[in-house]
């Protein structure tokens, strides 16, 4: 197979639809006879509903039904997922676990009527004191929730005898995913068959969950999401509002549509949980790390799970004999957290890479040299060589493009008028993740191909890169290949998340295409009229719309001819992928690696921070599309700038209310905050995954916050250990 189609920076195949406003997102779907729902949320964070009066709402114009815990059907919790338990079923009792918890669902003929009537639901509460602070000693703690804590060597002794040591506490706040698309659910029951348009990154999981909760066969549930509208992790769960909407549609006997409000997007669909992290690093005078001790506490909902192994990355970031990592989650009366772009690493790397910078100052050593000195070409947990790792090249190429060598190490020494200039850098990784996936490839009598899998394209470019992979492996031009997704009736697939989809799906698509080519070869081999008669199928490959003998492109025939002669309208093949075991391959599967270099400018009088330049050097393995790949890194870099300088979901300490749950109050970067961003890909295709990719959805974000904080330290002499870094930190 030639490599000219894969890797090329072709335009997004879904681009023309998106720029025309013709790409349908879940909130864009409407069906005949549908009604509209609005949610009523708790205005206290803990306690009990004593009385809920729905009479006025029920009497309001257009109102069809008001559901509360008093009349909501009793439902089972959804099944476990790869990311932990399903959210608990909604409105099953009178207990209040967090501010904004769903207490009622009002269904009316129009959205305006539902929203107006929702304001008429009166709730009488019995309040109890909410647990809101991640360090509250009364908060129930979950120790090592994901079995990722690690111990190597004797860290305590190494710290006690250290030549140079840094011990500091770092904190990160709640951040909220905040995709632009408001999450929407449209539930349509036809007897016991259920169709749901839903904002999700994982249609197969939503299907399985709804089938289990509503006790219908999985084959009776169809989840559709051709376009997501962003999610950044918020779409990895079957949230309570989805269950409520589906329940309401079944009870009322009409399709029900619910579109969350922007404030509800802050309290109903997850967020990145806040952390308090203590990091101790020890090194000898030549800068070799002798101990890493990283302990974290992060917040968790009262009755829900969140995969957030904050310190886990510190166990394999550097060559170091003595390592301890510890994660604890504290259960609080706050809305449920969930994955948010670069979950865990986004917080943990800020602490580790800030501490590395502090260690560099303590050693009077260049921070880049400190990282290079402690780089490891084996996974220190297993001792196995990485399946690919070009982190040294990331450091070297990134430093060169950035001009790191021109950095004067003295803080505050580089200036431009009133602006203090700071250079900061950080190393980063995002761990490997892969799960089984399936796909189906079909070639039709007109010579075109359709490849399907029940995945989503959350903006990463899945439609586009899988069209490229399919075209290459079927030997067809891009224009004759369509890759389709976003429908749970398609072959089962995992989530778009964890930087794992492109590898899992790519390998499944390659397998499906390979099996399909083989089916054509088998048909031709058995056919006395075919030029491939008697040719063993393994000697056949695809190219130019034909199957032909490898190395002999003239001996073969077209898909169209084979189908025509056999009287077939089309031929299909199912393919799948299952990740290999690291032990079998004798290597440690690598995630992406990166080096981030940032120039900040800080107004010396006003404390204003501006990002002047960012260079991201990324080892993402094989890049399937240079254009969309670069966009992924740019986008995540901007997410990292938001984490570093702007984003802070504020919980009111008295009431537990999210105090800034709007786009007017919760700041995310705007266009004027962002300079041109430089991205360079280095490294080779990964050896562990047949398709050679490593996943690049999160790596662009990791390391940015630390590099910004380190640059601010260099510009101002001030070390800020608490995100976001704001003007008041620098006055």
């Amino acid at each position: 197979m030639s490599g000219t189609v894969v890797g090329a920076g072709i335009n997004r195949v879904d681009g023309p639809r998106k720029v025309a406003g013709a790409a349908p997102y879940p909130s864009d779907f409407n069906v005949h006879h549908q009604v509209h729902a609005a949610l009523v949320g708790s205005t206290v964070a803990a306690g009990r509903v004593v009385r809920i009066d729905t009479a006025a709402a029920e009497a309001a114009p257009g109102v069809i039904r008001v559901l509360t815990h008093l009349n909501m059907p009793r439902l089972e919790r959804g099944p476990m997922t790869a990311l932990g338990a399903s959210p608990p079923p909604p409105m099953q009792d009178d207990l209040i676990r967090h501010y904004g918890q769903h207490l009622a669902l009002v269904v009316a003929e129009s959205p305006e009527q539902a929203a107006a009537a929702a304001r008429l639901v009166a709730v009488e509460y019995e309040r109890t004191e909410p647990l809101l602070d991640v360090l509250d000693p009364k908060a129930p703690q979950v120790i090592d929730p994901w079995g990722t804590d690690s111990d190597r060597g004797d860290t305590e002794a190494a710290l006690a005898s250290a030549e140079v040591k840094v011990t500091q506490t770092y904190t990160t706040p709640d951040n909220t995913n905040s995709p632009l698309g408001l999450f929407a659910t449209l539930a349509i029951w036809d007897r016991d068959r259920l169709t749901v348009h839903d904002t999700t990154q994982w249609p197969s999981m939503v299907k399985e969950t709804l089938a289990a909760v509503f006790e219908v066969p999985e084959s009776s549930v169809r989840v559709l999401v051709p376009y997501v509208g962003g999610a950044f992790g918020a779409g990895l769960r079957a949230w309570q509002h989805v269950i409520l909407t589906v329940a309401a549609a079944r009870l009322i006997g009409r399709p029900v549509k619910l579109v969350l409000t922007r404030p509800q997007m802050f309290s109903c669909v997850g967020h990145r949980p806040d952390t308090v992290q203590q990091v101790s690093l020890a090194a000898n005078r030549s800068g070799e790390l002798t101990a890493i001790d990283h302990r974290t506490v992060s917040s968790l909902a009262m009755e829900d799970d969140d995969y957030e192994a904050v310190s886990a990355g510190s166990a394999f970031a550097y060559r170091c004999r003595n390592v301890v990592t510890r994660d604890v989650q504290a259960r609080l009366n706050r809305p449920a957290p969930c994955s948010m772009r670069a979950p865990a690493e986004g917080q943990g790397n800020f602490a580790l890479e800030s501490a590395m910078d502090e260690l560099a100052y303590a050693l009077a050593m260049d921070p880049l040299q400190l990282r290079l000195r402690n780089d490891t070409d084996v996974d220190p947990r297993s001792g196995l060589p990485w399946s690919s790792k070009a982190l040294r090249e990331c450091y070297q190429v990134g430093a060169e493009r950035f001009g790191w060598s021109s950095r004067d190490p003295e803080p505050g020494s580089m200036r431009d008028g009133d602006w203090l200039i700071g250079y900061g850098m950080a190393g980063c990784s995002y761990p490997w993740y892969s799960v089984p996936c399936s796909a189906r490839a079909t070639v039709s009598r007109d010579g075109s191909a359709l490849v399907l899998s029940a995945v989503t394209d959350i903006g990463t470019g899945t439609y586009t890169v899988m069209t490229q992979v399919s075209a290459e492996h079927l030997g067809l031009p891009l224009g004759l290949v369509r890759f389709d997704l976003g429908d749970s009736d398609m072959p089962a697939a995992p989530q778009a998340g964890g930087s794992g989809l492109t590898g899992s799906l790519g390998n499944a698509v390659v397998d499906a295409c390979g099996r399909l080519v083989r089916r054509f070869a088998e048909l031709a081999a058995e056919d006395g009229e075919s030029p491939l008669h008697g040719v063993p199928p393994e000697a056949v490959t695809a190219g130019g719309g034909r199957v032909h003998v490898k190395g002999e492109s003239s001996r073969g025939e077209s898909y169209i001819d084979i189908l025509s002669r056999n009287g077939l309208p089309e031929l299909s093949a199912d393919g799948s992928s299952t990740p290999a075991s690291p032990e079998d391959l004798g290597m440690a599967p690598s995630g992406a690696f990166g080096a981030k270099f940032v120039e900040v400018r800080v107004d010396r009088d006003l404390g204003l921070v501006r990002i002047a330049r960012v260079v991201s050097a990324i080892d993402g393995g094989r890049i399937l599309n240079e254009k969309t790949g670069r966009s992924q890194i740019i986008g995540a870099t901007i997410g990292g700038i938001g984490q570093a300088l702007f984003e802070d979901t504020v919980t009111d300490p008295g009431t537990g209310r999210i105090a800034n749950g709007t786009f007017g109050d919760y700041l995310i970067p705007v266009n004027a905050d962002i300079p041109d961003l430089d991205v360079v890909f280095v490294g080779e295709p990964d050896r562990f995954s047949p398709i050679g990719t490593k996943g690049i959805g999160e790596i662009g974000l990791v390391g940015i916050a630390a590099a910004v904080a380190n640059a601010v330290r260099h510009a101002t002499g001030r070390r800020v250990r608490s995100l976001p870094i704001t003007i008041d930190d620098l006055l």
Binding site: L180, N671, I674
Partner: protein, 174 residues
């Protein structure tokens, strides 16, 4: 512990109004609840779902449309306010079946990812060029800052707008 009661108990009256809207050159007469915004009228009553609702609070720009040639936030505009005015949405910017140069440049420069904010970004970008506020990259960044993008496609949008301006295609009449 104390008990308290939230929210009111009044049933609101509902008023309807007949509004004549001209959207993308096509006149239509709608009988609407007076509370209906221009955004909801477009999406829920005229089936023009290309214009997006990202916040419904005037803070994200996803609902940007043109009213009499000026960019407005359709979520903060009541449909009834647009009586007799010309409304242009993302569905109305292509000419003779050909995409607007800004639409083409957004595709070529990858000025979007999930695509949800994109119609609003493009409506702002077209107006920005018309307003002659696209003279420098910094000016583009400043005057595009009312449109949020969470995927982080800002630099590519700036490149797309810069390309349209430099090729002299920005004055396409809408």
């Amino acid at each position: 512990m104390r008990a308290d009661i939230s929210r009111g108990t009044t049933v609101p009256e509902v008023f309807e109004t007949v509004t004549e809207l001209t959207v993308n050159g096509r006149p239509s007469v709608l009988s609407l609840d007076t509370r209906v915004t221009l955004l909801d009228a477009l999406r829920d009553h005229l089936g023009l779902v290309g214009t997006k609702k990202g916040c419904d609070q005037g803070a994200c720009g996803a609902c940007t449309v043109h009213v009499n040639g000026k960019r407005v936030l359709s979520c903060l505009t009541l449909a009834a306010q647009c009586e007799g005015r010309a409304v242009t949405t993302i569905e109305g910017v292509a000419r003779a079946g050909a995409p607007h140069p800004v639409q083409e440049a957004f595709v070529a420069r990858d000025g979007f990812q999930c695509g949800f904010c994109t119609p609003g970004q493009i409506m702002s970008a077209i107006a920005l060029i018309d307003e002659e506020r696209a003279g420098t990259d910094d000016e583009i960044r400043e005057f595009m800052s009312g449109n949020l993008c969470r995927c982080g496609a800002y630099p590519n949008m700036v490149a797309a707008i810069r390309e349209v301006v430099s090729e002299g295609n920005g004055n396409a009449v809408i």
